[in-house]
Symmetry: C2
Subunit: 211 residues, 2 copies
Amino acid sequence: MATAARRGRPRAEGTDDRILGAACDLLLARGYDGYSIDEVAQRAGVAKTTLYRRWPTKDHLIVAVVARIQDEVPVRDTGDIRRDLTAYLEAVAAGLTRMSRVGRPAGPDDRSAGLVAEIVAAAARRPDVGRAVRAVFARRNALPLALLESAQARGDLGPGARPDVIFDQLAGALYYRLLVTGEPVGGDYPARLVDQVLAGARAPGPEGKPS
Amino acid sequence: MATAARRGRPRAEGTDDRILGAACDLLLARGYDGYSIDEVAQRAGVAKTTLYRRWPTKDHLIVAVVARIQDEVPVRDTGDIRRDLTAYLEAVAAGLTRMSRVGRPAGPDDRSAGLVAEIVAAAARRPDVGRAVRAVFARRNALPLALLESAQARGDLGPGARPDVIFDQLAGALYYRLLVTGEPVGGDYPARLVDQVLAGARAPGPEGKPS
DNA sequence: ACCCTTTCGATACCGGCGTTGCGTAATTCA
DNA sequence: TGAATTACGCAACGCCGGTATCGAAAGGGT
């Protein structure tokens, strides 16, 4: 088991949870700004050194918080790849826009991506944080990727189509809008995106009906 | 004109350039870590207050630097949309991976996106930085978008295809890999991506030849 | 000439991140 | 029981981002 009775004084039970909970509360309450290590430690009733013994930097702690509050996006495989993908993307978009509003006054010009942008930047700064972030996303993307592979095995996708590239197109378009251009991803954007990814952009030749 | 002889003491000529140059040098030399406002001011031979009078935060200055060193990605419109898009994406991928190595020891596990991730996070933190970043990308994306619209006007794209969504698929997939999953975007990935975006992922029906 | 406005440099300051050192508590091993 | 080991809290520190204050300099308006 993980409780492999080590040598010295054992860590106080529930300390990790209290710290993560305090950090999560503070992030949700005041956003990335106004989220300080000192206050997290104070709220958790813990010395700052204790906190740093578990997560070496603020970035590590944030990634741990995000990995914890990451909501499971439901994936259904009904056999209708278009419908399943659309439903999945809509759920992801809803979750992302919700998380992007975290701790923000939600002004009319606010289209930021909040925590997601932070953990992406943290991943770019430190290699080990990068590994942790990639693990979070790998776990998160496993089900939709399996959905695509199942569709291909069923013959609903072209034999030359690569599920991972398809997923890049879908998720990439969503994240690109959220993180870079700041355009909205709601409304019928997921449906349009799925349609276009599945159907392709090239004009049909003389034979072969469109759509 | 921009030189609208204002009232008080004029700003020393070339100060902006010296600051931006020093910031750029420092970023290129030591990366985002080891890049401090104090040292930029010192290198530029300028007081810190002078620097803050021009760019209110470190993030603003970084965005200004990126906007300045942003290399123009060449876009050719030869009429072959597939070839032009592939060439464009390859150039973008090369530029991004180059910029992502900025100031880093380039270890084997380093797949980060460096400055791009930083400005994305900065854009998420402050609305005005977000506007500046979006302006940078809008300027950067204008030519390839025009390329897509020209192809559609020529009839090379389906009439229902939306150029902006196509661009989301292409650029999004690239940035998603760079920023989130950290997978490489070199090799034949741009070509594969363009092919799949243009052709679509759905299996062809009984009639209609593949590709 | 004289004021007004704006820039510039210098210094001090605050708060947050991350580190260090030290004394102490809890637990295992001999 | 005693030694080694690990966790914990406390206090202090250095570094950096950002702000405030002050005095001096460099221009324009009259």
